[in-house]
Symmetry: C2
Subunit: 311 residues, 2 copies
Amino acid sequence: MTHHHHWPTIHTHHYGWNNALEPVQRILPGDTLSFEIVDAGGGQLSRSATLETLKNLDFGSINPVTGPVFIEGAKPGDALCVELLEFRTSGWGWTANIPGFGLLADQFPDPYLIVSHHDAQAANFLPGVARVPIKPFTGVIGVAPGESGQHSVVPPRRVGGNLDIRDLSEGSKLYLPIEVNGALFSVGDTHAAQGDGEVCGTAIESPMEITLRFSLLEQANFKTPRFETAGPVTRHHDEKGYYCTTGIGPDLWQASRDATLEMIDHLTKNYALEPIEAYLLCSVAVDLRISEIVDAPNWVVSAYLPKAVMV
Amino acid sequence: MTHHHHWPTIHTHHYGWNNALEPVQRILPGDTLSFEIVDAGGGQLSRSATLETLKNLDFGSINPVTGPVFIEGAKPGDALCVELLEFRTSGWGWTANIPGFGLLADQFPDPYLIVSHHDAQAANFLPGVARVPIKPFTGVIGVAPGESGQHSVVPPRRVGGNLDIRDLSEGSKLYLPIEVNGALFSVGDTHAAQGDGEVCGTAIESPMEITLRFSLLEQANFKTPRFETAGPVTRHHDEKGYYCTTGIGPDLWQASRDATLEMIDHLTKNYALEPIEAYLLCSVAVDLRISEIVDAPNWVVSAYLPKAVMV
């Protein structure tokens, strides 16, 4: 990837989605921009953060996004193509259990924090027990909704936003349905690593500098975001295979909970891990897949732990 | 893998799960057996099957399973470890849309049939358009439920059964929770290829001979099946990357439908495919992953089409 930092860099961030926000930059299709991404905690959690820092988190400053960028000529019905050219990570990140948030919020009511450091290959997530291969990507990436007013950044929407799609990483292309003139693109919430599902609600949350190139697919009329990956998506962790648990039943959400709880059972019985540590490890390294969704009335969700993660 | 066919081969099959069925073979932990698996159609659909054959399918003879095998010493609370040693495929298989069955049953009311042939690498699924890398596995694999009486083979259960987990393929180990003395193991519904989800309800349904080795994990007390893979699970198809669509909303089942419908839109607009052909292709080659399940109220399901599939 290129290391010529001659692209304009966007630093300004905002909270929530609102199509009345003034663009901080106007570009043409084909242009490339860099973005200085603040982590999802808005800088409140640093390398030296403690559980006390987490307990005092100001949720009004959570999930800042950098932008908005106005793309000349972008019209409702077009798709904004965003090429994810380069990620420069900061070498550290935080992962937290935030009470009331996450797939197993009822099982894990207490706050918990892991600050980890990573090199270009992996994060020393649980020293001596688990080393998590990194794959930096953008958690929040989207354009402004057509509906006026202020919209929470938490739920993803058809215009993108908090998608948390692990494979929106270097080399991928994302196609976002545009609802307003100029698209009004913003990006944030960079993650150094995450499993499919992000079960505890946070990944390895890490500030980064990223470089993106923009173009338009005129009148693509996609109903929801689409993306393409340039190559394989699991080779950073799949070499030793997987240990997998399952959840089986008529509700995919409950089946996902059951599969995750069984994975936590596996991790705590076979490794020196507390349940809360296992839960956070699932969030950053375990993938939820829908094995079958047709054998009524019971569907199967499988949770895949890459064996390479366990030291 | 071994090619010494000196193991006993089980041919007898039965319909449904019932712990009163007489075992057809008794073995010791550590023993290996081969199984002649009839396809999920119970032999009604052959290499020369037509749409008429499908329309006249006798559903009373659907989903036979081969067994049951009594494993000496197996007790409730143990897990039966099944090592999937070898799959010898028949070189052909069928894929059908069966009215009333499948994730998009309301959108595809008419029966449809594709008979495809495969070599050791791939099936010529839609000649000139899509070639599907094969990865043979067992769709139905399980032990008898503790509850007496006759139980349908269609829904998977905590004792296994119609799991349709694509990675229960050569080299994997499956751990099944045992509920009755002797476990009473049966297996069937072999598939030459399937995407995670099996969205149309059938895979590449193919008769096979398979070889399995059995052992016990005493008092493992697993709540649901678990499995381990010996190595990577997507390298048979991931080399060129993926084209992906998404479904976003508060219900994972509906999000899966939306992602699949958008994939069918992509396939029909960019390739010479009818919607029903695209739907069947999704079932045998597209993977459903849960990208995030925590950004309330909206979850994200992504449908991954391996680009290598498209000719």
